[in-house]
């Protein structure tokens, strides 16, 4: 974990002391951080696995909407290896996961979990990546402008938007967007929706989901950028920069932003967690066949192999994002020591 002197230590996951020389120590640091992912994932898998298998009831309780006969259940248990003792199943599952084999889905009985994930992942990733591309410039831009124009109407507008975006949940925002841009448009034009309410496509299908996904993180980033920029503007070294006779653009770009964006970069990790959570909600509201929706249907039908695999995938995404953010932090702040 990269921790700046005096900066709040955000989760010291690793405490290896590495001297300040970069290069090989950085590679070592990355290697150790990636190794650290293994226990984290193991933790997630173990908890989810045992919760799923020790829970009362069986996955076949709801299959087909009626009670299955005992021989059928026995057959299904055999097919999915549910007849073996739990710890054997656990070890076997871990072995399979190591080979990227996540087994068969309960719900779609002829599909492997891997194939389902491979199908839905690109959809979620597309929406998430577009949202991310929207979040970073808009969030930072709004925050910086608000700080530079503190106590003007621009600042108040950004403040209002941030409060709204941070408090009104994306579920509600998605629904309100549909009411305005689809239902409203449908009523006004007498039968044409302005923006489609569901499904996935590389066209106007992307607009409402991406906006819905991005509002909360934008509000979050804008707030953070504003307060950290205001903080930096008050610093002595900014006064030094003005006293040297630097041009405003240089003062803002080089001296203000270079410092005020450091805490913002560290906050990009949680942004990924927002996006993951957001995908679950947004894909349900807009009927998008991505991982988030797959996860929800898996939860609704107790499709444990699918639940386990999506959970692992989400955990991996969040952990990797945090790793990248920490490395970025090391790159942009010379005071940071890898420790």
């Amino acid at each position: 974990m990269a921790v700046a002197k005096g900066a709040p230590a955000r989760g010291a996951l690793l405490s290896i002391k590495i001297p300040r020389g970069r290069g090989s120590s950085l590679a070592l640091y990355i290697a150790k951080r990636i190794l650290w992912l293994v226990p984290v994932l193991l933790f997630v898998i173990t908890i989810t696995f045992f919760m799923a298998h020790l829970a009362p009831g069986s996955p076949w309780d709801k299959a087909g909407g009626r009670q299955l006969s005992a021989p059928v259940v026995a057959n299904l248990n055999l097919k999915y290896g549910l007849d073996a003792p739990l710890w054997v199943q656990y070890v076997k599952y871990l072995g399979n996961v190591a080979h990227l084999d996540f087994g068969l889905s309960y719900q779609y009985q002829n599909q492997t979990v891997s194939s389902i994930l491979l199908e839905s992942w690109p959809i979620t990733a597309t929406n998430g990546a577009l949202a991310f591309l929207l979040i970073v410039p808009v969030g930072i831009g709004l925050g910086v402008i608000a700080a530079l124009r503190q106590n003007t109407w621009v600042d108040f507008a950004v403040g209002g938007f941030s409060t709204f975006g941070a408090s009104v949940p994306n579920l509600i925002i998605g629904i309100l967007l549909i009411i305005v841009f689809s239902v409203g448009a449908y009523r006004v034009t007498g039968g044409n929706v302005f923006l489609p309410t569901g499904g996935f496509g590389l066209d106007d299908h992307l607009i409402m989901p991406v906006i819905t996904l991005a509002v909360l993180p934008i509000a979050f980033i804008a707030r953070l950028t504003r307060s950290s920029t205001l903080d930096v503007l008050r610093q002595d070294y900014i006064r030094t920069a003005w006293a040297k006779g630097l041009r405003e653009r240089l003062v803002v770009m080089k001296h203000v932003l270079k410092n005020s964006l450091i805490p913002v970069v560290t906050a990009l990790g949680p942004t990924f967690a927002f996006l993951v959570t957001g995908s679950v909600i947004v894909e349900s509201v807009f009927a998008i066949p991505g991982i988030g929706r797959t996860f929800v249907t898996a939860v609704q039908s107790r499709d444990y192999p699918l639940i386990l695999a999506t959970t692992i995938l989400f955990a991996l995404v969040v952990a990797l994002a945090n790793l990248v953010v920490d490395l970025l932090y090391v790159v942009i702040d010379p005071r940071v020591r890898l420790s």
């Binding site: 989760g11 010291a12 996951l13 984290v40 933790f43 997630v44 989810t48 919760m51 799923a52 829970a55 009362p56 009831g57 503190q150 409060t163 709204f164 941070a166 408090s167 009104v168 949940p169 579920l171 509600i172 629904i175 309100l176 549909i178 009411i179 689809s182 239902v183 449908y186 309410t197 307060s227 205001l230 990790g269 967690a273 993951v276 959570t277 679950v280 909600i281 349900s284 509201v285 996860f295 929800v296 898996a298 939860v299 609704q300 107790r302 639940i307 959970t311 989400f314 955990a315 969040v318 952990a319 945090n322």
Partner: protein
Amino acid sequence: MAAPAVALEQIDWENPEQIGLWKDAWQRFRRNPVAVVGLVVIGLLVLIALIAPLLVAIGMVKDPLHQDVAHSYLGFSLQHPLGTDYLGRDLLGRVMYGARISLSLGILVQFVYLLIGGVIGLTAGYFGGKIDNLLMRFVDIWYAFPDLLFILVVVSILGSSLTTLFLALGIVGWVDLARLIRGQTLSIKEKEFVEGARAAGSSPLKIILKHLLPNTLGPIIVSLTFGIPRVIFLEAVLSYLGVGIRPPTPSWGVMLQDGYQAIFAYPHQVFVPAVAIAITMLSFSFIGDGLRDALDPRMRR
């Protein structure tokens, strides 16, 4: 001469000066119009939640569970101020009863946060060393993992009921409190009077607890205030996804789902609970922001 600076840690809770601190905070809070609006809205909402059964009993509001399929999907009228849903149930009554569920769940879950966060934070801070390290790493993993996913998994496994919902919501969301309490415990432990207590043979834990509360009460209140809308949101999402509160219980999430089915034909059906959720969450945010500014004037911008 200026009064000697008093370290925050040395302020006596029973001391009237300390009361002055809170009075001060209240003064600052009152001067924040947005926060006051939030407080008034939530006050009204709590009142509505409390008297909703009474209003139904005296017939001012229709029974939220009474079905009347002949009068389904009604618009706004005197009879049904917010209209009726697909089973002809009164939407005003349902929103009011939904407030009961959202608010009580939101507030009750905060006690679970306080309990878990308090125990973990105190243990980590008090024992320090290896235990602290282990617990904090655990907290980090917990923090990094999106809580909605975890709740969904728990609810899917345990089945959905109010109790499971309560449990599932309670075991996430305590991380901030754990960190807060750990940090304070660590810093109080360093103080001389704790050493003194140890030397005098009395329990340092007692001393720490005695000093912990006054010093952390402000941040804890702020954290809990922001926790309530979070829980209200999670309930809505879970119920909307069909794994939270079960119909016919009138919760806002259930109403969202019911209304969403008919969004094209009758958009007001989903609009009503959506607005109720949005207003409630905004109001809690206003109060939380106001409290934070009032309790920590240095944070004001």
